[in-house]
């Protein structure tokens, strides 16, 4: 599904990824853990073709992104769903449009514009919202929902998109532990019953161990360890988050 080989990404002279290797196979649930600034977000953005590698090979869904044509890139983007923090929703739009945004990779421009005036695919949107437990919010303004509800809208958007690979960038970092657990439950449900592949970045070590098959520790733009979830120990976690003298957090 995903294969990163010796990837370097440099932003403004600062290396976000520095020789990064990762393989994710179909149906796997993989967690990226590590301190802020370790490169987790950059790794996810590589997979959604939102940033390009400075050096190294990136292959997603069997396509080499470095050599893909624009239409091939479009195809990859359409088949990769990203759950951001709720900040990436469009606040002033109604919930139904934010859910329907999952279709935008495949809808024609005309259909997309028409849907803004009179929502298309109401039933599918309502089903998706029902699965994440907020069917009644279909026509609310998105920025009037609570943080947890907005995160559910983001999940519903991915449900509607129906991607083969789901990327989630710290999907629960702004929620309290109880809400975080609920959203992770939903995420797991969504992924598991469609046999999809999940690559998620998490801060919460315990959550990662409970929810994922494999845990990849990231530190300083490199992979620190890559182990099955049941072989990861607390010590490894402590090492990963240890603040070294002189290192930037």
């Amino acid at each position: 599904m995903v294969s990163l080989r010796g990837v370097h990404v440099v932003y403004d002279g600062h290396a976000a990824l520095d020789g990064f290797d990762l393989d994710v196979f179909a149906g796997e649930h993989v967690a990226l853990v590590g301190p802020s600034g370790a490169g987790k977000t950059t790794a996810l953005r590589l997979c959604s073709a939102s940033v390009a590698a400075t050096a190294g090979a990136v292959s997603v869904l069997g396509r080499d992104l470095g050599r893909a044509s624009p239409s091939e890139l479009h195809d990859v983007r359409r088949r990769v769903g990203t759950i951001h923090q709720q900040l990436d929703l469009i606040g002033p739009l109604r919930v139904v449009h934010n859910v329907n945004a999952g279709h935008l990779g495949s809808w024609s421009r005309f259909r997309a514009l028409r849907s803004l005036l009179r929502p298309v695919g109401l039933e599918q949107a309502r089903d998706a919202l029902a699965r994440v437990g907020i069917a009644d919010k279909l026509l609310e303004r998105t920025d009037r929902l609570s943080g947890g509800e907005q995160q559910r809208v983001a999940l519903a958007r991915v449900l509607v998109q129906g991607p083969d690979l789901i990327l989630a960038d710290e999907p629960v970092s702004s929620l309290d532990p109880a809400r975080a657990e609920e959203v992770m439950d939903l995420l797991a449900e969504v992924v598991v019953d469609r046999h999809r592949t999940l690559l998620v970045s998490l801060h919460d070590f315990a959550l990662a161990r409970r929810r994922c098959d494999r845990i990849v520790g990231v530190r300083g733009g490199r992979v620190a360890f890559d182990l099955p979830a049941d072989e990861v120990t607390d010590d490894l976690g402590h090492d990963l988050y240890r603040i070294e003298a002189g290192s930037r957090p």
Binding site: R78, I90, G91, L93, L104, G105, W107
Partner: protein, 553 residues
């Protein structure tokens, strides 16, 4: 130590625009019934379209010939002169002196507005009137009285204040300064009061609980947090004052406005362009100073700016030499009584109530047309002018759009109106178009800032799932920017309704034209009636605009 103030114009004007603060200022009251939502917004949009259509029809668009084809050569000559402004040393000296006069009016007017705003803002802040004991929310009556009192001076345009003051104080620079300071002081006080009330309460309550008086508690616990915003707002007001000072200059205060008038009467377009460039330079300097302070406002720079500001006030004072004695002199008191007795009771114009109502409606229509034109152009220009382009054609377009906006807002509306009268037959339409062009410059700049400050993440997430550019634009950019654009349009509509006076003065119709006719006939009772009608129009427009803006929240 460095403090970075991230607040920019869109943040600061939110207190005037009343959109971004979340809850309205009235935290003390019961919650109003929510009047927003898509259906309410759609209804407002329909009302707007119908109103603009009605205004167009009344202005005679599509019914009679409006364009005077013979005038185009004059317009072409005016624009051609842009490339060759008059640069003879004699005229440059004149332009320099005129620019100094305009700047001096603006600086003194702003300084006084800020002083009024600071004292008035503190006295009308909720924080000031709250009882010392924490937890009690009851307010003293002074707060209500103070808040209500700011509405009236704001409802009257600077030019009308000048007209009144010149009758009381005689011809003195004091008139121009006060004409700017009275309405601007009121709006500054309102904004400062809201800034103070927005600051965290805990530090203030803690200092008060420790036994400090209200003044020292404010100085220690509230002002340090609000000062950067207050300074930035003062600069925004300085830019507004500059534009006002030019308009006041055209009606007698001297400076660039007066020179523009003279040059126009002599049809010396090259001189006009010299003056326009001087105006652009002066407003650009104020803009640079203000935005530099907003973006990189370290303590050192703020201190330096304060010193420079003080020096500027001194120079302006020496240059204008306003006669403060007139304020309290006996002649002023006599003149005030004279004006009051001459004007009272107000009388209707020759055509009675019908005439007054018709002209009031005409004023509203002019402002509607102006703002419809201004917002339509501004929305396009905002996307073109927004910074952040990476390719050179994109940057070239942005540069061109920015200079267009700069020129359109630097030339005062009466000059636009006079130019338009070359090609449009007299009536409300040239006045409306003049106001529209001028407000386009202001709105385009505000909207460009909205575009620059848009959160990029929603659009990026749509892009990441493969949505094409146009779709991303209509799903992310339009909804995010739309409400703010509409709020700014409505805010400028209120201002435009007041500004119809200044294009009315050059014969463009509405209440402004009536006022000018009455002024030349020394018809004081008639003028009073017209001013009252202007205040009524202004209040009505404010109310409609405020309730439309509520639907945007």
């Amino acid at each position: 130590m460095t403090t970075t103030t991230t607040h920019d114009l869109t943040d600061l004007t939110r207190h005037e625009v009343g959109l971004l603060g979340g809850e309205p200022a009235g935290r003390w009251g019961r919650r109003r019934r929510r009047r927003s939502g898509p259906s309410v917004r759609r209804r407002w949009a329909l009302v707007g379209v119908v109103a603009v259509g009605w205004s167009l029809w009344s202005a005679g668009v599509g019914r009679s010939s409006l364009v005077n084809p013979g005038g185009w050569t004059l317009v072409a000559r005016f624009w051609a002169a842009a490339a060759s402004p008059e640069l003879s040393p004699g005229f440059l000296a004149t332009a320099g002196r005129a620019a100094l006069t305009t700047v001096a009016f603006a600086v003194l007017g702003t300084a006084l507005s800020v002083a009024v705003g600071l004292v008035g803002g503190v006295l009308t802040s909720e924080t000031w009137w709250r009882r010392a004991r924490a937890g009690r929310r009851r307010l003293r009556p002074g707060w209500f009285v103070g808040r209500a009192a700011w509405g009236v001076p704001r409802g009257i345009h600077e030019a009308v204040w000048a007209l009144f003051l010149v009758n009381v104080l005689g011809r003195d620079p004091l008139v121009g300064v006060l004409a700017i300071a009275i309405p601007f002081g009121a709006i500054t006080a309102k904004v400062y009061a809201e800034l103070i009330d927005e600051a965290a309460r805990e530090p203030f309550d803690a200092v008060r609980a420790a036994g400090a008086g209200r003044v020292s508690a404010l100085a220690y616990a509230v002002l340090p947090a609000t000062l950067p915003d207050m300074v930035s707002y003062a600069f925004y007001r300085l830019e507004c004052s500059l534009r006002s000072a030019v308009i006041l200059g055209m009606i007698g205060a001297g400076g660039l406005g007066a020179e523009l008038n003279l040059a126009f009467q002599g049809l010396s377009y090259r001189r006009m362009w010299t003056l326009i460039y001087a105006l652009i330079a002066v407003s650009a300097l104020a803009d640079l100073w203000g935005s530099g302070l907003r973006r990189r406002g370290s303590h050192g720079r703020v201190g330096l700016s304060a010193l420079a500001g003080l020096a500027l006030v001194t120079v302006s004072w020496v240059h204008l030499r306003p006669d403060l004695g007139r304020l309290f002199g006996a002649p002023t008191r006599t003149l005030l009584v004279d004006v009051a007795t001459a004007a009272w009771p107000p009388t209707l114009p020759a055509d009675g109530w019908g005439g007054l109502v018709r002209r009031s409606l005409e004023t509203v229509q002019m402002s509607l047309l102006a703002i419809a034109l201004a917002s339509t152009l501004a929305v396009v220009a905002a996307f073109a002018a927004a910074r952040g382009g990476t390719t050179w054609p994109r940057r070239a377009v942005a540069g061109a759009a920015r200079s267009t906006l700069l020129v359109t807002r630097a030339v005062p509306p009466p000059v636009w109106a006079l130019l338009l009268l070359f090609v449009l037959f007299p009536g409300p339409l040239p006045g409306a178009v003049a106001l529209g062009v001028y407000n386009f410059g202001i709105l385009g700049r505000l909207m460009a800032e909205v575009v620059e400050n848009l959160d990029p993440r929603p659009a990026a997430s749509l892009h990441a799932l493969g949505a094409p550019g146009l779709t991303v634009f209509s799903y992310a950019t339009v909804p995010l920017a739309g409400a703010r654009f509409a709020a700014y349009g409505l805010y400028r509509w209120e201002v435009a309704a007041r500004e119809t006076v200044v294009v009315g003065v050059v014969g463009a119709g509405g209440l402004g034209r009536l006022l000018e006719q009455q002024r030349t006939a020394f018809d004081y009772p008639g003028m009073l009636a017209t001013v009252l009608a202007l205040v009524a129009v202004s209040i009505a427009v404010d109310l409609v605009s405020a309730s439309a803006r509520r639907s945007l929240r």
